[in-house]
């Protein structure tokens, strides 16, 4: 259908590396501006991980006394999992953005210009990765204030942010693909939550095996 034909156009463009880079930068900046100008969205996507951090560390603190618990405190144990979950949750909104751009016609408006087709996706992915890293830093600072100090030091933290950025990239890529395929933000949301929640509760991120 149309979305398939639009996809063909998406990957069919040419253009050199310089235009790819500058186009990516402009699209990246556009999404950041949109994000900053919608502070409510930003606040709400931070509320959940912060709630998890505060709530679960209170609830599950006694896990630590279970023999063989892999960390000194529950906070220390759960923080990385919460960071990843935040990365998933935020990057998942990516698909919605492309659906919104399809609905408003903004995507079509980009596609009738010689803008690099790859930059349209890359700009969005990078803006998601950037957002996830900034949110992670906020959560990390909070965890630090609550008493967690990373055993691996600053290098460990940087490595962690780096990993999270890549998780964000991958997850937002999946979300973008779903968005382009289904053209429905409800579907993106449904599939997104379907994928995220079981993953979190089945994983060892909040409770040790």
């Amino acid at each position: 259908m149309l979305k398939h034909q639009i996809l063909c156009v998406l990957v069919g463009g040419d253009g050199d590396l310089m235009t790819l880079l500058s186009d990516t930068r402009h699209i990246f900046v556009r999404y950041l501006k949109k994000l900053i100008r919608n502070p409510i969205l930003l606040t709400f996507s931070l509320i959940q991980p912060i709630l998890f951090l505060v709530l679960f560390t209170q609830l599950f603190e006694r896990f630590v006394s279970v023999p063989g618990f892999p960390a000194e405190s529950y906070l220390l144990f759960a923080a990385p999992g919460i960071l990843l979950q935040n990365a998933f949750g935020s990057a998942l909104q990516s698909g919605n953005s492309i659906v919104a751009d399809l609905d408003t016609g903004f995507l079509q408006k980009m596609l009738v210009t010689p803008v690099s087709r790859y930059a349209i996706l890359l700009g969005r992915l990078l803006s998601d990765a950037f957002r996830v890293v900034v949110q992670s830093i906020i959560i990390l600072v909070l965890a630090f204030v609550m008493g967690a100090s990373p055993v691996t030091g600053i290098v460990g933290v940087l490595l962690m942010l780096f990993t999270i950025a890549f998780f964000g990239l991958a997850w937002s890529g999946i979300s973008l693909a779903i968005g382009l395929k289904t053209k429905s933000s409800e579907t993106v949301f449904a599939i997104g939550s379907f994928l995220t929640f079981p993953l979190i509760f089945m994983s060892t991120s909040l409770t040790p095996l």
């Binding site: 149309l2 639009i6 156009v9 079509q108 009738v112």
Partner: protein
């Protein structure tokens, strides 16, 4: 090479089997102001999507400024400006940010782009609002900004999708003036779709009418009107319901009236030469006591052409008062 657009046997079939464009051929000359008209669902949007590289055609051939639509789509994108059906501007950005972004997409930058953006704000009369968030713009302001974004790179070929729909008369005539200037002075070729026949008549020097995927008429507005060839006589009856039937009967008996249709005011009669027959109509009505509240006639209009070619009447609200060629005094009781 004098053609800006050359379309031959263009077919577009959607994946659900709908043949939205069915073997369409037409040319648009360089510098022409081309009107592309047709009722809803006729295939206008689909044709535009193909010509603006958004949809891959199913078959046929199409060239824009000599570039092949499939092979050279990126070259084509550099020389076309497109105002789409949706007023697609980003509400989270300011007017200036929207225009700059569109300029960047067209690979413009630096002071060249800045100057162009300032020039465009002046042009669409949004200077005072350039740094306001577009979310706070009115519908008409958005429409004007949208037009500006399509012009940022001074395109050789401009696609306009109903550029004045929803605008107030003042903005509308401002846009008309600007488009005429763009076409005459900058030699921009313009491909226009509109719901307003009057707009097409005023602006376009070539027209094509599409219906259910096929071109049903093409030519200059004058040629098309001559094809229809009948004047229309608008008869407003004081008591339309009561007198309509007898009025139709009288008109049919009168030689020279070739067609009658029931329209807004009451009746419209079509005749080869209205000025000769109108006195007869008035006299016969008088003798039967049918009271006229107004009579006017006009040479064939694009509306009539459209009606005859598609069997549908396009939206007929008057945009700007046009003086009738002749208007009889209103008879009042």
């Amino acid at each position: 090479m004098s053609n800006m657009i050359e379309v031959k046997d263009l077919v577009l079939v959607y994946s659900n089997g709908t043949k939205a464009v069915d073997t369409v051929s037409f040319n648009v000359k360089k510098g022409e102001f081309f009107g592309f008209l047709g009722p809803n669902g006729a295939g206008k949007s689909t044709t535009i999507k193909v010509l603006t590289t958004l949809l891959k055609k199913t078959s046929g051939s199409a060239q824009i400024a000599g570039y092949d639509l499939d092979k050279d789509s990126n070259e084509i994108r550099k020389l076309i400006g497109v105002q789409t059906q949706e007023t697609a501007i980003d509400g989270d950005l300011t007017g200036r940010e929207n225009l700059m972004l569109q300029g960047h997409f067209q690979q413009l930058s630096g002071s060249q782009l800045k100057d162009r953006v300032d020039e465009l704000f002046k042009l669409v009369d949004l200077e005072k609002f350039s740094d306001k968030n577009v979310r706070n713009y009115s519908g008409g302001m958005k429409k004007r900004l949208d037009l500006a974004t399509a012009l940022v790179h001074k395109p050789q070929l401009l696609f306009l999708y109903e550029p004045t729909t929803g605008l107030d008369p003042q903005s509308r005539s401002a846009i008309w003036n600007y488009l005429e200037k763009l076409n005459k002075e900058d030699k921009t070729t313009i491909f226009l779709t509109t719901q307003y026949m009057e707009e097409a008549d005023k602006l376009c020097n070539a027209l094509a009418i599409i219906d259910t995927g096929k071109i049903v008429a093409a030519g200059t507005p004058r040629e098309l009107k001559e094809q229809v060839g009948l004047d229309s006589i608008k008869l407003d009856l004081k008591d339309c319901d009561k007198d309509k039937a007898s009025a139709i009967k009288v008109l049919k008996e009168l030689g020279g009236v070739s067609n009658i249709s029931e329209t807004g005011g009451c009746l419209t009669a079509f005749a080869k030469n209205a000025s000769l027959i109108i006195a007869d109509i008035v006299r016969s009505f008088d003798s039967l006591g049918i009271v006229l509240s107004g009579v006017s006639f006009s040479p064939p209009s694009l509306d009539d052409v459209y009606l005859q070619k598609t069997g549908k009447r396009i939206r007929t609200e008057a945009l700007v008062k046009t003086p009738n060629l002749m208007r009889f005094g209103r008879r009042r009781r």
